[in-house]
């Protein structure tokens, strides 16, 4: 006792000691299901007529990579600053987040990126294809013509754009009011297209003979002349002095030629032109009354525009069809027939019929007609005859007997008359012409089908140019394929706007800028459906350490020597960027 205990260190412990790793057990042989990285298509991008890679744009935005996000838009759409403002954003209606809480404000982020690019004078990093020998004429510098020229330039073609008006832009310049699209924004987008080598000849009208004489100078023509002539009401009194076409009125405002409007004005029609006219009337001091023969919900105008018009004091009188106009001194009497709903049209709008013996009279000081537009000249419309003729999702191609191909796009071919549909037709035509020059007319339809976003009809130029997006699975991710355990409820941003009282007095832009902070926060709400955002869940939760980080773009790979095929990585992937398949398939 009292002695210090002796510590015995055994040189050879008499217990068995393991000396090998388990890595010689190739547990991958247990597997009958095989996980794999498999990026898919987000519903928003499939719903976007321009096929923008929205899930990727939002992901880059969350990382503060605004330039890269903006470049990603430019791969599919030359007009982020314009579409961020005026697009009716069909993408947001298909947003999976809408089933969780509220859709992502995709348009607000698009506009933020474009404004950020303008403020920082970003130069786009678009890659152009090697120069081609073919030359293409584009008739009309509206959204479809400019988009066609832009994408043709990317594909390496020289383009001449002919525009009858003194400035390029078409409906963007002369139709859409300044409070939705400031002219400076339009100009900077057009400058970028010109910088790509596209020549725009303004004030240059093109006659019918142009198509017949094009051969020799041009190898193809894109027709994007738009719809610029108002349709007729075909009622007595339509021709009375003081009854104006809505589209001419908008054009005069954008030239800076309008005076104040006094008293109550009737605007006949329910499309975007009618709503733009009514809201412009309010800004010029008048009271606007939209007279529409169906119901408000049947109006072809975009919903947001209608609700803002109502906020600004525009009145909508629905289910009234004009039957005649009379003039008495300074006043017009618009006689209207009451209509009633009688079933449904094929497009979902109400079918209507007159309600017997129910007519009314509306007394106003001015009338604008805005029941829709049509091509100003008959030959603008797609030719019915030619060697070959092809109707695509957003454009029509006619292979003329003289060998050149004429592509028709924009309002001339699109059912939905929107800027983004015009962009879609320009892109589609550019890709179709490229296929035509390389492989012939017969190859166009089949070839383009391979570049659809999801199930189409939107097309991707990035895919066409064999960019990284071409690896994407066409499967469109559904809401129940998202692992919502990884997302928390968060309200959509509220678009800051001018106060209603200010809106009524000025043509200044209504939607105000949002901060980078807000834009990032909104982009962070995005599920990034189908895309890997390097969240690392697959790596973290693998019980077999079979997910290995590497330097590839994917950032990791699966070691099938050890993967037992439990499927945890696939289920824990929040955004369905992986797939589990039966082994041997």
């Amino acid at each position: 006792m009292g002695e210090k205990a002796e510590i015995i260190i055994a040189d050879h412990l008499l217990i068995p000691r393991s000396s090998q790793s388990t890595e010689s057990n190739k547990t991958g042989s247990w597997r009958f299901l095989r996980p794999r990285y498999d990026e898919k298509t987000a519903p928003c991008s499939a719903a976007c007529p321009a096929g923008e890679d929205i899930a990727m744009i939002e992901m880059l935005t969350t990382q503060g990579l605004f330039k890269e996000a903006w470049d990603t838009i430019l791969k599919e759409n030359p007009f982020p600053a314009i579409c961020g403002r005026v697009c009716f954003h069909p993408c947001e209606r298909r947003c999976n987040r809408g089933e969780f809480d509220e859709a992502i404000a995709i348009h607000a982020i698009e506009r933020f990126l474009a404004d950020t690019a303008a403020r920082n004078e970003f130069k786009s990093s678009l890659e152009k294809q090697p120069e081609r020998k073919e030359k293409i004429a584009v008739i009309g510098a509206g959204p479809s013509g400019l988009a066609a020229a832009y994408f043709l330039a990317i594909l390496g073609y020289a383009c001449d754009v002919f525009e009858s008006m003194p400035e390029a832009g078409g409906v963007l310049r002369w139709g859409i009011p300044e409070y939705r699209l400031p002219v400076s924004v339009l100009r900077s987008e057009i400058v970028r297209i010109e910088d790509m080598g596209v020549r725009i000849y303004t004030g240059t009208s093109v006659s019918r003979d142009f198509l017949s004489n094009a051969r020799g100078e041009y190898d193809a023509v894109f027709m994007g002349c738009g719809h610029s002539r108002s349709r007729k009401l075909a009622i007595p009194g339509e021709g009375l002095e003081g009854i104006e076409e809505g589209i001419v009125f908008l054009d005069r405002i954008r030239r800076g030629e309008t005076d104040a409007v006094k008293g109550t004005v009737a605007v006949i029609g329910g499309g975007n032109t009618a709503v733009d006219v009514a809201r412009s009337v309010v800004r010029l001091g008048g009271k606007a009354l939209i007279v529409y023969r169906r119901r408000r919900q049947d109006m072809p105008a975009f919903e947001d525009e209608i609700s803002m018009a109502l906020e600004e004091g525009v009145e909508i009188r629905e289910l009234l069809a004009p039957v005649r106009i009379d003039r008495a001194g300074d006043y017009f009497t618009l006689t209207v027939q009451a209509m009633r709903v009688a079933g449904e049209e094929t497009d979902g709008r109400a079918a209507i019929e007159p309600e017997v013996d129910k007519a009314d009279e509306i007394v106003i000081q001015k009338i604008f007609k805005a029941i829709g537009e049509e091509a100003a000249e008959e030959w603008y419309n797609p030719a019915e005859r030619g060697k070959q003729r092809l109707t695509l999702g957003n454009s029509v191609l006619v292979h003329r007997d003289d060998g050149i191909v004429v592509a028709y796009g924009g309002d001339l071919t699109n059912d939905t008359k929107s800027v983004v549909h015009a962009v879609a037709s320009g892109k589609e035509a550019a890709m179709a012409l490229d296929v035509f020059f390389r492989k012939g007319f017969h190859a166009i339809q089949q070839e383009l089908a391979a570049y659809m976003v999801g199930n189409g009809p939107s097309l991707s130029m990035e895919t066409y140019m064999k960019g990284r997006r071409s690896e994407r699975n066409h499967h469109v991710v559904a809401y129940d394929e998202i692992n919502i355990d990884y997302f928390n409820l968060a309200a959509r941003i509220t678009q800051p706007r001018l106060l209603i009282d200010e809106r009524k007095k000025t043509f200044g832009e209504i939607d105000l800028k949002i901060s980078a902070n807000l834009a990032i926060r909104e982009a962070e709400r995005c599920f990034n459906c189908g895309l890997c955002n390097q969240c690392d869940n697959c790596y973290l939760f693998c019980p077999d350490l079979a997910v290995c980080r590497d330097d590839s773009l994917q950032g990791r790979h699966i070691n099938y020597d050890y993967c037992k095929g439990c499927g945890l990585c696939v289920v824990e992937c929040p955004r369905n960027a992986m797939v589990l398949e039966e082994e041997g398939q």
Partner: protein, 294 residues
């Protein structure tokens, strides 16, 4: 998800855990948190097998396989030996299943923590004796099928509340953790490592084989256990200071039960009864933590 730990792994592929094994995931996270200056005492449990047949070992740290009932005692001895060697940096960790903790090793565990031995005792809980063939333990929850509570004889007794039993010993640190919440798990393991005296971690680890669940759902079910309040994430310092670490979404318990084969026999009334028990336990925990229901 970022764990705020090194990317270093301290175990190898090729271990023989079942596909989707929650216990393997739990070990991986624990090792990432504690690093390689540790010695693991491994009483009989699934991990006795998972670690590999002799002479293999899947773990990159020293492991002592010990008898079923001796997790607490062997750890005490190893710690004493380290003290004699003057090694102050090595953390002693007992890694035991629920059988070796709740039942067979409870005496040794209780003795060790009563002496406030300086070690971390981790129980990875898969709620039955899994590797011997799914026999019920005192951790098996109310309502569960096992091979020893088969058919209509399903377990009609509550799961032992092991954390509260350890808290009653007034040890410096006791906490629950869950494989679906790795950041929380890693933080708690590191915290335990920084505290002197007895620490107890109760880690929920799903078992696809024993629970009759699809292997790919083992994280989802673990997460659901927290979101339904069946397995709250909380920690207790010095036996008195309760902190609830995560306020769950409080889904109905049926969301948890319907995903698992071992609960398929339960009727609506059974589920209502279980919901009452869960609500009761949660209310009690809230009171202990001085928090209010949401």
């Amino acid at each position: 998800m970022e764990l705020m730990v090194h990317d270093q792994e301290y175990m190898s592929s090729g271990h023989v855990g079942c596909p989707g094994c929650g216990a393997a995931i739990a070990m991986r996270f624990l090792l990432k948190a504690l690093g390689d200056k540790i010695i693991i005492i491994l009483p009989a449990c699934c991990w006795s097998v998972i670690a590999g047949p002799y002479p293999q070992s899947t773990l990159h740290v020293p492991v002592i396989h010990s008898a079923f009932e001796t997790g607490g005692a062997v750890a005490s001895g190893v710690k004493a030996a380290l003290d004699m060697k003057g090694d102050k940096e090595t953390t002693v960790v007992t890694w035991a299943g629920d059988g070796g903790t709740f039942d067979i090793g409870f005496q040794a565990l209780s003795g060790a923590v009563e002496r406030n031995e300086d070690f971390i005792y981790v129980c990875y809980d898969n709620e039955a004796y899994m590797n011997t063939g799914i026999q019920r333990s005192s951790s098996t929850p109310y309502g569960a099928w096992t091979t020893t509570t088969p058919g209509d004889e399903w377990k009609r007794l509550r799961k032992k509340n092991i954390v509260e039993a350890l808290v009653a010993h007034r040890i410096p640190y006791a906490a629950t953790a869950n494989i679906a919440f790795p950041e929380d798990l890693v933080r708690k393991a590191k915290k335990a490592q920084s505290i002197t005296g007895s620490k107890f971690l109760h880690i929920y680890a799903s078992c696809p084989t024993g629970w009759r669940i699809a292997s790919e759902l083992s994280i989802k079910i673990a997460r659901m256990a927290v979101q339904t309040n069946i397995f709250p994430l909380y920690e207790v310092e010095d036996g008195v200071k309760y902190t609830i670490n995560y306020r769950p979404k409080e889904y109905p318990v049926s969301e948890y039960f319907k995903l698992q084969g071992r609960f398929q026999h339960l009727t609506e009334e059974d589920l209502e009864h279980i919901q009452k028990m869960v609500d009761e336990d949660w209310a009690l925990l809230l009171r202990k933590a001085g928090e209010h229901p949401s």
